[in-house]
């Protein structure tokens, strides 16, 4: 479904992606992991067309995405920091994003699920971080798309919202969708992910199931297995 071919990306002198190759097939939950600054967000943003690679090609549904924009109608993206225009109310923002995408949406169920009704008329500038993240989640999940990309989806969520989020992700998976998640919370990965993609030094260091990773590192605990991978970088 997605294919990264020999992606190079430099920011000034800093090499972030260094000849990265990765292919992700349709269906399932993929966790993109790696130490801070390993290029997880850059990888996702280059798929979204927000970062333009210096070299290489990215295919989405067998078509190159570089310099295109209409393919983005087939994917939903949850950005890392949810900072919305403070003068708009929640409902206006939802309406506006709906207005921008020629697609069916089911925001009402999601608003009920996350208990956002009391906040609909409130200005976005007055909301707490967790509530903003819930709005962010509604905006991401309200469209029916083949690919869902979540950048640190758990930030600021309370336990109940977190449970709802997990249920949502599982439901989307059952519909046969592809879900990419970046996160630093290993218990979340352990519970949700089918496959792990581990980035190090701008390349894919490991790709496979959680069990395969545990076997390779001789570790029963995912957190320690990942720490084991990262520590090799420092060695």
């Amino acid at each position: 479904m997605i294919e990264f071919k020999n992606i190079h990306k430099k920011f000034g002198k800093l090499v972030v992606l260094d000849g990265l190759n990765l292919s992700i097939k349709k269906g399932g939950i993929f966790a993109i992991l790696g130490p801070n600054g390993s290029g997880k967000t850059t990888l996702i943003k280059s798929l979204l067309g927000m970062v333009i690679p210096n070299k290489g090609d990215i295919l989405f549904q067998d078509k190159s995405v570089l310099k295109k924009w209409d393919y983005r109608n087939q994917l939903n993206y949850l950005p890392q920091i949810a900072n919305f225009p403070p003068n708009l109310s929640v409902i206006e923002l939802i309406k506006m994003v709906k207005n921008l995408r020629p697609k069916e949406s089911n925001e009402q169920d999601l608003i009920t699920l996350f208990g956002l009704e009391p906040f609909l008329q409130k200005k976005l500038g007055t909301l707490s971080g967790g509530t903003k993240q819930k709005v962010n989640l509604v905006l991401t999940f309200m469209f029916d798309s083949e690919l869902i990309i979540l950048d640190e989806p758990t930030t600021g969520l309370d336990p109940i919202a977190l449970i709802h989020l997990k249920e949502l992700i599982k439901k989307e998976k059952e519909k046969g969708k592809t879900i990419l998640i970046t996160t630093h919370i290993m218990s979340f990965v352990d519970e949700m992910a089918d496959e792990i993609v581990f980035l190090l030094d701008g390349k894919i260091y490991f790709k496979g199931s959680i069990d395969a990773l545990k076997k390779q590192t001789n570790n029963d605990n995912l957190e320690h297995a990942i720490a084991n991978l990262i520590s090799k970088q420092y060695a």
């Binding site: 979204l48 927000m50 333009i52 209409d70 983005r72 109608n73 900072n83 003068n87 905006l139």
Partner: protein
């Protein structure tokens, strides 16, 4: 693009600063007209204020809006919309809302005062046209600066410097060079130097429409023979349009390679 434009426009129209700006012009218009009683003099005073203030406000609103809506812009970039569309929509939205504050803020007191019965209506309209141009020019310039600088503080600094250069320093250099090269014929030089700065160009354009250009001496006569004609007027307006088109063009080029 219209959707983004509409949204940016309404977002700004709802912000407190648009109202402050609008009320400032409204108050200015009323004070000048009802304390002055002379429409021509009011137009000159207004010109002096508009020519310095609209560029400054346009610059500040431009950079401020860009940096403040950065995360939201990123959200838009992930939607199925072209990059150029997003930024052009924002740009026109800002420039348009500033222009509306200007036109309504000054227009209301003038209409109440009886502008339509006065002969100053042409001068006044020219003032508003020039003010609108300055809005579009300086928002475009500041968007260029903001797009090229990721650091907010630096971007702000560069934008203010740009305004300071065009509004104050340029004139200083211009005057010094006039003094230094006093022995040479300077009419062509000063004509060209004036046309290269949108603020100076706007000022001369309005001054020559008023009856005080006789005070400008020989160079004034050269200016008058150029700007006073309809050809001069057309050339000046074309140059002002060029000052909008070039920054917008560069903005679109810059966007093609920019990472967010």
């Amino acid at each position: 693009m219209l959707k983004i434009l509409k949204y940016s426009f309404f977002d700004l129209m709802r912000s407190r600063w648009s109202y402050v700006y609008f009320i400032f012009y409204l108050a200015l218009g009323f004070v000048l007209l009802f304390l002055n009683n002379d429409l021509n003099k009011a137009v000159i005073t207004l010109m002096n204020i508009i020519i310095v203030l609209t560029p400054l406000i346009g610059t500040i609103f431009g950079v401020m809006y860009y940096y403040n809506s950065k995360e939201f812009t990123e959200l838009l970039l992930a939607q199925p919309i072209k990059r150029n569309t997003i930024f052009m929509g924002q740009y026109v939205g800002i420039a348009l809302s500033l222009t509306l504050s200007l036109v309504l803020g000054l227009g209301i007191p003038f209409v109440l005062y009886g502008l339509f019965r006065s002969t100053a209506i042409f001068d006044f309209s020219l003032l508003l046209v020039v003010g609108s141009f300055l809005n579009f020019i300086f928002v475009a310039l500041s968007y260029n600066i903001a797009l090229s600088t990721d650091n907010k503080i630096k971007g702000f600094g560069y934008a203010i410097l740009m305004w300071l250069f065009l509004a104050v320093i340029y004139d200083g250099i211009f005057l010094i060079s006039l003094l230094l090269f006093n022995d040479y014929p300077l009419d062509k030089f000063s004509l060209i130097a004036t046309m290269l700065n949108p603020i100076d160009l706007s000022r001369i354009l309005i001054l020559l429409k008023l009856d005080i250009s006789a005070l400008l001496g020989y160079t004034g006569a050269v200016f008058r023979s150029f700007f006073g004609t309809s050809l001069g007027m057309v050339v000046s307006l074309l140059l002002l349009s060029l000052w909008v088109i070039l920054p917008v063009f560069r903005m679109n080029r810059k966007l093609r390679k920019k990472d967010f």
